[in-house]
């Protein structure tokens, strides 16, 4: 295992008195895929949103590559190489596919062409639609675009918030295949998923979040085989 890329310690986040995250600590090491699973409202998204600088934490610490980035603004955090694929894709519907990719590399100027080709290599469908407005794409294509856009920022750590949400199973499989490829190409991934089965299969390590706290952690395989996890998050899935 590589060195620690992201270290979250005792993170607390609250929205107007409601505590969404109540002391979460976790670690992501270089080259890993780490997944956070848990029910809706458990505090997964709040954790990611805090790491990316959209939300200021109430307490705790976020360290990225040895640097304390707690409460820093998102421009700074992005400039450090931390990109997020937001929940619900959130591509820019009024920008073309190509512009959506370019805006992912907003903070840099060099070698855009090379990275655009790299993204088009992962997602040939996007290349065909290069000049279409993002809003005209299907849900699955928009998710590809959101992932491609984040890759354009050359992330050292790629965070994904529910990339499978609202997509057809076949499309979800495609997205997870891409996550695997991106990971093999050397990108570290922190993945939030409600689709625990898919997420645990792809992950090196996983954390289970319940009511704003981590209730369990282990390798993907360990959690897949855990009775409690199976009952709560995998349902009837074999």
């Amino acid at each position: 295992m590589g060195e620690e890329v992201l270290q979250i310690s005792d993170l607390q986040v609250s929205y107007g008195g409601i505590e969404a995250v109540r002391g979460i600590s976790l670690t992501v090491r270089a080259g890993e895929i780490v997944t956070l699973i848990g029910a809706n409202g458990a505090g997964k998204s709040s954790t990611l949103r805090t790491v990316s600088g959209l939300v200021k934490p109430k307490g705790g610490k976020v360290v990225f590559e040895g640097e304390d980035i707690t409460g820093k603004d998102s421009t700074y955090i992005v400039s450090k190489g931390l990109m997020m694929v937001p929940e619900g894709r959130r591509i820019f519907p009024n920008l073309t596919v190509l512009e959506n990719l370019k805006i992912g590399a907003y903070l840099r100027k060099d070698e855009l062409e090379k990275d655009i080709e790299m993204v088009y290599g992962y997602f040939p469908r996007l290349k065909e639609r290069s000049w279409q407005e993002g809003g005209t794409l299907s849900g699955g294509e928009q998710q590809m675009l959101a992932v491609g856009r984040a890759l354009m920022g050359r992330p050292k750590l790629l965070m994904m918030d529910e990339p499978s949400l609202g997509l057809a199973p076949i499309v979800v499989q495609g997205i997870f295949e891409i996550i695997r490829q991106i990971h093999e190409a050397g990108t570290t991934v922190l993945l939030i998923e409600q689709n625990a089965n898919m997420a645990l299969h792809v992950a090196d390590r996983a954390y289970v979040i319940e009511n704003g706290k981590i209730s369990m952690e282990g390798t993907g395989r360990e959690l897949l085989e855990d009775e409690k996890v199976r009952a709560a998050y995998l349902g009837s899935v074999e």
């Binding site: 937001p86 959130r90 009024n94 805006i103 907003y106």
Partner: protein, 295 residues
């Protein structure tokens, strides 16, 4: 015939001047969903600055300075009165805008003593020229061309530069723009800077034509420009420009009808009636998007 030409010419010219103000409304609305009520008064202040600065400095220095100071004013208003309310309900920002509007009007009254001030004669712009048998000022001829050039430049900026791309992104989604590393507040400042600069240019053209400036002088042109922006579909630049030309031309035609008909006094009412009729049939305006509230 000469009469018709002169009416049309001045309609196009007034329309162009409204257009320069209307772009400021539509740009700010596009990005903040805010009707910037102070915009017309920024236009008025630009006019007053034109009077004071040209009396002290040569035209070649004073006019660029007018544009620069108006930009500074627009930038400062946004930072002081709107930015602190970024997460407040939109209605609060609107009230803040109304407050700024009165602040500018009252300050103008304080400075000028409330007396109408006369805009200076600007060489060349104020010179007369003979077009198809009618005498008119150069400003009337130049305005539509200048407006078109500025609008073309602006659309190039918005569609073919990085900051333009950021403006379009921010207009759709603040939060995701932040996730791309975009400084949302800087992008918002840029829109205020562009809007104010265009209003300053508009003030030079407009007040050369209608040289009396009172503290209320921004209210009516501002309102007309706002109407033009709504008419064209607020948020759309081509819409605002087209709307402004239509309103300018309609109003001068009504003003120019034979005096025996006695309708010229109703020119504003007719303009607004036209707006109401169009909006009944096309509620989004000419080029507006279907109403979506930002989430």
């Amino acid at each position: 015939m000469e009469y018709v030409i002169s009416v049309l010419l001045s309609g196009i010219s007034v329309g162009g001047q409204y257009a320069l103000i209307a772009i400021g409304y539509t740009l700010v609305y596009g990005i903040l969903r805010l009707i910037n009520f102070a915009h017309g008064d920024v236009f008025m202040v630009a006019g007053l600055m034109g009077i004071y600065l040209t009396s002290a400095l040569p035209i070649t220095v004073s006019l660029p300075l007018v544009i620069l100071l108006t930009v500074l004013l627009g930038f400062t208003i946004e930072r002081a009165a709107y930015k602190p309310l970024r997460n407040a309900p939109r209605m609060s920002v609107m009230i803040s805008a109304i407050g700024v509007s009165y602040l500018l009007q009252n300050t103008a009254t304080y400075v000028t003593g409330g007396q109408p001030m006369t805009y200076p004669t600007i060489p060349f712009l104020s010179d007369t020229v003979n077009v198809a048998g009618t005498q008119t000022k150069w400003v009337v001829i130049i305005t539509p061309f200048l407006v078109l050039a500025l609008v073309l430049g602006l659309t190039q900026l918005i569609h073919h530069t990085k900051v333009g791309m950021a403006m379009r992104a921010v207009s759709k989604d603040f939060e995701t723009s932040r996730l791309m590393g975009i400084q949302v507040n800087s992008v918002i400042s840029v829109t205020f800077i562009i809007g104010s600069a265009l209003a300053a240019v508009g003030s030079i053209l407009f007040f050369t034509n209608y040289p009396a400036i009172t503290p209320m002088a921004g209210a009516m042109p501002g309102l007309k420009a706002f109407v033009a922006a709504v008419f064209g579909g607020i948020g759309s630049i081509p819409g605002a420009v087209l709307g402004a030309f239509i309103i300018g031309i309609c109003e001068t035609i009504i003003k120019g009808l034979p005096s025996a008909w006695d309708v010229s006094v109703f020119s504003d009412a007719f303009t607004f009636a036209l707006l109401i009729i169009i909006l009944v049939f096309k509620p989004q305006g000419l080029f507006g998007e279907a109403a979506t509230d930002k989430v």
